[in-house]
């Protein structure tokens, strides 16, 4: 059990770290996927340990994967539009919405 949790924690923090440090929008998006996947692992692991007869955790994971796919496509569409505007996908260049 604890191995699952260790794996998911490690993935989660790698994701958060990537999100905070990397300047490339695509990489940041990949980091978010990592965070989501770590959550999925948690769901599956807890479902298996706590309620072996039920399948809710599994279904929830499938939902998350589907939503993540949709979210990724939207995010990439936004990124493409941004790229068309400023020919760059560096997150630090996108600071027009400030005071």
């Amino acid at each position: 059990m604890s191995w699952f949790l260790i794996l998911s924690s490690v993935m989660f923090f790698i994701g958060v770290y990537g999100f905070l440090i990397r300047k490339n929008l695509i990489t940041m998006l990949m980091s978010i996927e990592l965070v989501l996947n770590s959550v999925c692992i948690n769901f599956v692991a807890f479902n298996k340990i706590l309620y072996p007869d039920h399948m809710e955790g599994m279904f929830f994971t499938i939902f998350i994967i589907a939503v993540a796919a949709a979210e990724a496509s939207v995010a990439i569409a936004i990124i493409i539009n941004i790229y068309r505007r400023i020919v760059n996908i560096d997150v630090e260049k996108m600071n027009e919405m400030k005071y």
Binding site: L20, I21, V91, E92, N95, E96, K98
Partner: protein, 638 residues
Amino acid sequence: MFDFSYTVWIVLIPFFVFVFLGFWGNRFKPVVSGIIGTSGLFLSWILSIFTAYQYFFVVAKPGEVFQQIIGYNTLWLRLTDKLHIDMGVLLDPISVMMLIVVTTVSFMVHLYSVGYMKGEKGFERFFSILSLFTFAMLGLVVATNIFQMYIFWELVGVSSYLLIGFYYTRDTAVAASKKAFIVTRFADLGFLIGILLLSYFTGTFDFITLTSPTGPAIATPPAVTFLGLSVLTWSMIFIFMGGAGKSAMFPLHIWLPDAMEGPTPVSALIHAATMVVAGVYLVARLFPIYVTVPPALEVVAWVGAFSSLFAAVIACTQYDIKRVLAYSTMSQIGYMMLALGVSGMGGHDGLGYMASMFHLFTHAFFKALLFLCAGAIIHAVHSNYMYEMGGLRKHLPVTHITFLTACLAIAGIPPFAGFFSKDEILVAAFHHNTALFTMEYIVAGLTAFYMFRLYYVIFWGEERTYHHTPHEAPKVMTIPLIFLALGSIFTGFIPFSRLVTSDRQPFGIETEWIVAIPSILIALVGIGIATVMYRKKTALPRKFASALKGFYQTTYNKFYVDELYLFIARRIIFNYISRPIAWFDRHIVDGSMNGISYVTNQASERIRGFQSGQLQQYALVFVSGAVILALLFIYLWT
């Protein structure tokens, strides 16, 4: 019992006409909206006449007390079980009489306006507001309770404002409309205070309950006193203040002469025949209460008498024909107020009440006629100033005859209508108070003088050079003139003492020749002097004016009442009241608000650096917050 519930349509038809013309009037040719407005009023007029016939001759038995009938009633606004405001139609002799007056004059004025306003910009606007006014006035006269009356009272004021300012491109018209609205509004403040006092101490708005001899106001008057007068007296005086404002009584009369900036048919309808008598009607409506509080009634009598004398003197020196008529209106309304003020309750004591209503009725006819004639004259010569007219009797034969009829009626020459009603007023004053009687007696002479001054200068005298030859008005304008002239001749023969009395019980009167003959004589003297001075162009008027130079100037400038108002408003109110209040507003009220906004502004100036636009900075703050919260939860859990 006859069902009077259809009477609500008398009031509602003009309202629907107003809405219809207001929204869709500009889709038709102007004359079509004129015809719609006029035919709407025609229906109301027919219904009113039918109602009067039913009320006075079919429902009532001869010689009996006329009942007060609630023709229609609906709950309009229910605040609590006890406090609710109704809307309805109350039929009693004075309201039925007023229905006739308002619808007749309004119908005539509508008809006349179709000709008079032809080609004016805003023709359909004129008709829709005219209908709004008629609706408001009818709602006022049939009010079942004092609150309904107040609502329609204000509505009348608004439509008067809109009509005075009809030529809104003219600065003087705009100023006049504002003046009229502000002055009457100020007076209505008194009315409102009066209503609140009265209804607070009696617990009802309803006219029938208020004025019944066993009602809370008369049988058990509240015992509260203030400055030596009972609270009932105060409330009646305050209510009279509202009435005085609407009826242009001194010192709240200043708006009426300026209101002549409106189109002439409006002056005829609103500022001569109907709206300005609303104050008289209000006092008459609450008359049973006024009788129980003599001090308030004294106020009514003296204000009325003084106003009538004051206005009659001013009218003798004015040059603008509409202004002369405006002051004459004020003077005649003073008569009506005086008559109410000297009246008692019941039977022959109530002669003044009957005379006041009688004069209101006849005055509506001849004063509307005078204004409509003035309109026809102005239409013909394009000027308001009487010295730019002269010798018009050949060019305007119908107007000439009808104007003469109205002059004779207002001067009180028998058998014209004004004689009968004015005579009753003089009789009532004669039996009550010699000083008041003397004042009114002088006013009768002055009235004859200034009316015939106007008549001679306009229709006799030498011809002027006009822009084009003056021509008689079209048929649609002369027919109302002729109708009203017939009214001015014959309404004097209506036996008012059998129909409209203070206790609604008929009584018999006979002409008291001891009063009537001198009043005819003084009217003839007034006419005689006017004939000598103005029949032909002589030097006499100028000699008189220069002999009485100071007095003449004062009178010509309307006794400087306007200037006095301006002085009070500018010097005293502005300097000593408005300025400190404005200072307080700017520095204390606004100051505290500005202080709050300054503090907010500074604070946001300090913290705006957080909003850097750097996404990852935000994320870092968010993550560290989440981590701190997580650590906190873990720490608290264990």
